[in-house]
């Protein structure tokens, strides 16, 4: 069953066209990675799916509902949650307040279960988010998105700016979340990680899909070629 359908989506920043007529589907329970170089339009695509960027054309359909012109906060109550690039926590709120302010839908996730998945946050519970380390902030950002009990979790570069050992821990937690059946669409710069965690990979180049396929079936050279837009000899 298709959970998210993006249909000929066009996104612009003024004259700059970031996403050009992109169409794809994400099925229930799937984990899809969007990969591509900087400026390929990955983050814009995620933001358009979450409602943080108003598309210029095309449609976003979630669970058979056209959400293209729906404001972001209403998409959250339908079950779409975005972990934005740069984490974007509320700095003066404590960890617990950051989590509790985001509770939107009932379900498996609450403050307790989020803290169980990210035990590093337990001692930081009553500390202002501004005073956390990068890895702790990322954990809060993911936990905050989980608090709305999303059916579709959008993750934008969760490994950006974190030490490799922290990234490992974050991805271990994510693996647990994915195995529980949450549908995930993620943007990841690290190709190896993207191919490991995702069932399917979509590669963007200059706002267009240039390669799409099962992660297991794609060989790394083809992906690298599509990633950088290298013309390969026939």
């Amino acid at each position: 069953m298709t959970l998210l359908r993006v249909d000929r989506l066009d996104c612009r920043y003024g004259l700059l066209q970031a996403v050009r007529g992109v169409s794809f589907e994400v099925a229930q329970g799937e984990t899809v990675a969007l990969i591509g170089a900087n400026g390929a339009g990955k983050s814009t695509l995620l933001r358009a799916a979450a409602g943080a960027h108003k598309p210029h054309g095309g449609r976003v359909i979630f669970d058979d509902i056209d959400v293209t012109s729906m404001p972001a906060h209403r998409r959250v109550s339908l079950g779409i949650a975005l972990v934005p690039e740069g984490r974007r926590l509320f700095p003066s709120l404590t960890v617990e307040e950051n989590l509790r302010v985001a509770a939107a839908r009932r379900g498996r996730w609450n403050v307790q279960s989020v803290l169980e998945v990210f035990p590093l946050l337990q001692p930081r519970r009553h500390m202002a988010a501004a005073n956390l380390s990068g890895g702790e902030q990322q954990a809060v950002a993911i936990g905050r998105a989980l608090m709305s009990n999303p059916r579709l979790l959008l993750l934008d570069e969760v490994s950006l700016g974190l030490a490799p050992i922290i990234v490992d821990a974050v991805y271990r937690s994510l693996a647990g979340i994915i195995s529980e059946g949450t549908t995930v669409l993620l943007v990841e710069q690290d190709l190896t990680r993207a191919l490991n965690v995702a069932g399917r990979v979509i590669c963007l180049l200059e706002g267009r899909i240039v390669l799409e396929g099962e992660a297991a079936s794609l060989d790394r050279d083809r992906v690298v070629g599509a990633y950088f837009g290298l013309k390969r000899p026939a």
């Binding site: 974007r88 509320f90 509790r100 302010v101 608090m147």
Partner: protein, 292 residues
Amino acid sequence: MTIVNAVLQGIFLGAFYAVLACGLSIMFGVMRVINLAHGDIAVLGAYVVFVIVQSTGMSPLVAFVVALPVMILLGYVLQLAILERSLKSGILTPLLATFGLSIVIQNLLLITFSPDVRSLGGNAGAITTSSWQVTSGLSVSALGLVILVVAVLLFGALQLFLSRTRAGWMMRATAEDADAAELVGINSRGVYARATALAVAIAGLGGLFLAIRSVFDPVSGPTQLIFAFEAVVIGGMGSLWGTLLGGLALGVAQTLGAHINPEYSALTGHLLFLAVLIVRFGGGRVSLRAVR
């Protein structure tokens, strides 16, 4: 002893300024909007209470409770009809829009109520006239004490609201990052409208105190705005407790000035404001803290 009395009266006066400044501080803290019509909204609140008192003969304090829903509704309308549109087009547009609103309110009040000077002091009963003579040079007026207690309760309640309730966290989250707030399911438009409604309601309370403790007319607003604005800036823009302290400091500065020479009252207040501006912004360090 007269100095002590001047300070005490300054604290009572300052509590009034703090109530006036509270709504201004909320709107700046949450939306980064400087509402130039804030003083006129307070005066409008005074007229709403005045109309209710005139037509029913009830005490102004009871009439304010009746006026409160009117002010809250007015706040929602102000946000959804005017501020929300102007917020979309940059930082200067809300300033212009509220400046225009200030002129509109003043002229509507002039047409409706004539330029006559009014007061509700006489209708409020014993509260305006009672006082306790502590010593020969020190007297505590009942009204001053009531305003001080209300101001402290008001700021305390707002502090509790912002730090303890989910609606308060939503307001702080939206103030800090409205886009991120939307992404966690917070209706930022709704939060903005609630913040403005709260600010307008508290402006109405300021208007009530103005009407009871002294006199008002359709063009009293800008003077109230200046004192409220000075209180906000002295206390640190966007900081709630700062606004209370800023109001008290302004009041004390004014009564101490008046103690030296009655002509110096407003002057010493302005001097304190300028001194704070120079100390805070003169060194090139700009601090705009969110409501905490």
